[in-house]
């Protein structure tokens, strides 16, 4: 039975959602009928961006392209039945992870929810172990035991990858607590979606962070929908503004332009590191794909809306235009970066395909630290009850 209405339902956007009209555009390159006018991007001149070398800017661009191509390749793998379970794609949101993670210092940490592939790549994880994890192989970053929602890399200060909506937010608050306890000059970026803001655990975390002045920045990646339920149908009041009632700083900015993401985050990150002040940031972004591969994406928004975003706010296109106008990129380089990213993603799929699965014996490893370190084990008795 086809439940789609004959007439498109008016979209129930609240007033503070990004409008569908893009900023005024000038034709600055053949492909830029639409996206942001580079001259209008004052964010490029923000100190945190003005100091970037040409190579650093290209690297930001490359990271976003890599994420896009990895996500597209993993979708094809999923459709080819190589990946089971969940796949929550980050396509359209790349500037948020890349922009935020690019500001990380040695004592800054990141934790996020299940739409975690972008953050994993943005902190520097390689594609091979990520794709192998999606395929459930023993060479995966979690040895095949976690899957799409559970990418971790403590060596890169990256703490997952979590499946329960909002469940990672107290953990992120704890990471900040540990940093403060140890006297380290760092902050935890604790990401969540617009759907997580109403979970009790998130409110509890806001209170603890503000009460104890913990260096955590709660970053709400607001893509407008929690699965199929829009912000207007989910949340009373504005999202980041709720921080006010806890006495925390807050901010809202768009996440389509990686310069803007960096400029937006920077002062809150400095405040967290230097003054141990928590904050709540809402970054407005958008996902082109459904909530996950299981979402037919035909019940809660229109194709017109998706196309409009793609046309006017695509983070890769936006930044490409900016860098082309700056003379940092040229068309040849753009093509080369894209080809390299596609190739890298293909190689990772080949790697995953060729890798072995974990064994039945592996099922009961990596559960208890003591069992994995028998020389240091102090406890006795039976630990598994098969």
């Amino acid at each position: 039975m086809n439940l789609r209405p004959a007439v498109l339902i008016a979209l129930d956007f609240p007033a503070n959602r990004p409008t569908l009209d893009g900023p005024v555009t000038k034709k600055s390159s053949p492909t830029a009928e639409t996206n942001a006018d580079p001259a209008a991007s004052g964010h490029a001149r923000a100190p945190v961006n003005a100091k970037l070398s040409a190579d650093a800017k290209i690297d930001l661009y490359r990271q976003m392209v890599r994420i896009r191509r990895f996500e597209e390749r993993s979708l094809r793998a999923y459709q080819g039945k190589k990946i089971g379970g969940f796949l929550h794609l980050y396509v359209g949101q790349e500037a948020v992870a890349v922009g935020c993670c690019s500001l990380m210092g040695p004592n800054d940490h990141v934790i996020t929810a299940y739409r975690d592939h972008g953050h994993a790549l943005a902190v520097g994880m390689e594609m091979n172990p990520l794709m192998a994890e999606l395929y459930g192989k023993a060479t995966g970053c979690s040895k095949g035991k976690g899957g799409s929602m559970h990418f971790f890399d403590p060596s890169r200060n990256y703490w997952g990858g979590h499946g329960i909506v909002g469940g990672q937010i107290p953990l992120g608050t704890g990471i900040a607590y540990a940093l403060k306890y140890k006297g380290l000059r760092g902050a935890c970026l604790a990401f969540m979606g617009d759907g997580a803001v109403n979970q009790g655990a998130v409110h509890e975390s806001y209170n603890l962070a503000a009460l104890w002045q913990l260096p955590v920045i709660f970053v709400i990646e607001n893509n407008g929908y929690s699965m199929g339920t829009s912000q207007a149908r989910s949340s009373a009041g504005d999202l980041a503004r709720r921080a006010e009632s806890y006495g925390m700083d807050w901010g809202v900015f768009d996440g389509h332009d990686v310069y803007e993401v960096r400029a937006g985050l920077d002062k809150f990150l400095e405040r967290a590191r230097n003054e141990s002040k928590p904050s709540v940031l809402e970054v407005r972004t958008y996902r082109y794909r459904g909530h996950s591969v299981a979402d037919p994406d035909n019940t809660y928004r229109t194709k017109v809306e998706i196309e409009e975003y793609r046309r006017t706010k695509d983070p890769i296109q936006v930044f490409q235009n900016l860098l082309l106008a700056e003379g940092v990129l040229d068309e040849a380089r753009v093509a080369q970066i894209d080809a390299a990213a596609r190739a890298e993603a293909d190689v990772s799929a080949d790697f995953a395909e060729a890798s072995p699965y974990p064994t039945v014996e592996d099922i009961q490893k990596d559960i208890y630290w003591e069992e994995d370190h028998p020389a240091e084990k102090k406890s006795q008795g039976r630990i598994f009850f098969d």
Binding site: G144, G160, L171, G174, A178, I367, K378, S379, Q380, G381
Partner: protein, 325 residues
């Protein structure tokens, strides 16, 4: 040897571990300024200061999750639940995060937390405050569960639990906090997963944990004096990992088993033990395995009825006689 209260034994364990390891932090509701709702942490704030002894707001999911997150970076939080009954508001953090993060990361992370507090009925505090969730917690691979019955066991086990690099659920009992026992001044540790035979016997094995051990010992005394039955009482001390060997050795000696605990019957600790014993010692049994659980209802308030609901010595005695006949 000094005679100290169960609560003092716990306090000494925490103080010793706080001195030994600068990463140990005690946190929970009323643990610092109030000196602990049950005076377990009395005096620790004065000795160690507010960075090490931390009062939390009433926010179990928040502060337990926060402790778990901090433990991923090497802090060793010892988090008090004023009642273990309150675990259910932090269920997701304990049983999805603490239990699973190591596994989901393929072994890259561990969470060396201790969650401790009283898990018991018997104090007329009603159904929502009288939970004994050791079996529910023990059903989750990734965590460990400890239930000490005496002051001596409490101190040695809490020290081991704090040093353990896995999450340990440590379940005490408000009715035991005032019990005195001999506890040496010198440092000692009791390993997790090691049961203790609290009373040697030959005719019947009673397996119990927590306050049920003391009730079983009282029943054993009556069984010997009034019925000439020699009862061996095995105190599990740890639920997960489980000292099956000690239980089975006792069963092979006496050939009759009575399981006693304060859990409700369905999938309580006794259910797991019964499976294990019949699976591994079937031919050693001269009678079916019986158990005494809490009467299968939410914990009743009415004081004399709550005594009847729990495995008191009279109920244990009756059940033991039934096993022997």
């Amino acid at each position: 040897m000094p005679l100290i209260q169960y609560r003092e034994a716990l306090r000494h364990a925490m103080a010793e571990e706080l001195l030994r390891d600068p990463n140990v932090v005690i946190m929970g509701e009323e643990v610092a300024q109030f000196n602990g709702a049950y005076k377990v942490t009395e005096g620790l704030l004065e000795k160690f200061g507010p960075k090490r002894i931390v009062d939390t707001p009433i926010s179990e999911a928040g502060f337990i999750g926060m402790g778990i997150g901090a433990s991923m970076l090497g802090i060793r939080p010892v988090i008090e639940l004023m009642f273990w009954s309150f675990y259910s508001v932090a269920f997701d953090q304990i049983l999805n995060n603490a239990a699973n993060v190591r596994y989901m990361s393929g072994g890259l992370i561990n969470c060396p937390i201790v969650i401790r507090g009283p898990a018991n009925g018997g104090t007329n505090v009603g159904a929502t405050h009288s939970h004994t969730p050791e079996a529910i917690c023990a059903a989750h691979p990734g965590i460990k569960v400890v239930c000490p019955a005496t002051a001596y066991d409490a101190k040695g086990l809490l020290k081991s639990a704090i040093r353990d690099n896995d999450p340990v659920m440590f379940m005490e009992n408000t009715m035991l906090y005032g019990d005195k026992g001999e506890v040496p001044d010198e440092e000692y540790l009791i390993p997790l997963g090691q049961a203790d035979i609290k009373r040697l016997g030959t005719d019947l094995t009673i397996v119990a944990h927590g306050r049920a051990v003391l009730n079983a010992l009282a029943a054993a005394q009556l069984l010997e004096q009034e019925h000439d039955i020699s009862v061996e009482v095995v105190d599990l001390r740890t639920i997960r990992p489980l000292d099956e060997a000690t239980v089975l050795a006792s069963v092979r000696k006496t050939h009759r088993v009575l399981l006693v605990d304060e859990n409700k019957p369905f999938c309580g600790v006794g259910a797991q033990l019964a499976y294990m014993i019949q699976d591994q010692a079937f031919d050693d049994l001269d009678a079916p395995i019986k158990r005494v659980s809490a009467v299968d209802a939410p914990s009743i308030y009415s004081p004399p009825m709550e005594i009847e609901q729990l495995p008191n010595p009279q109920r244990i005695l009756k059940a033991a006689l039934a096993v022997m006949n």
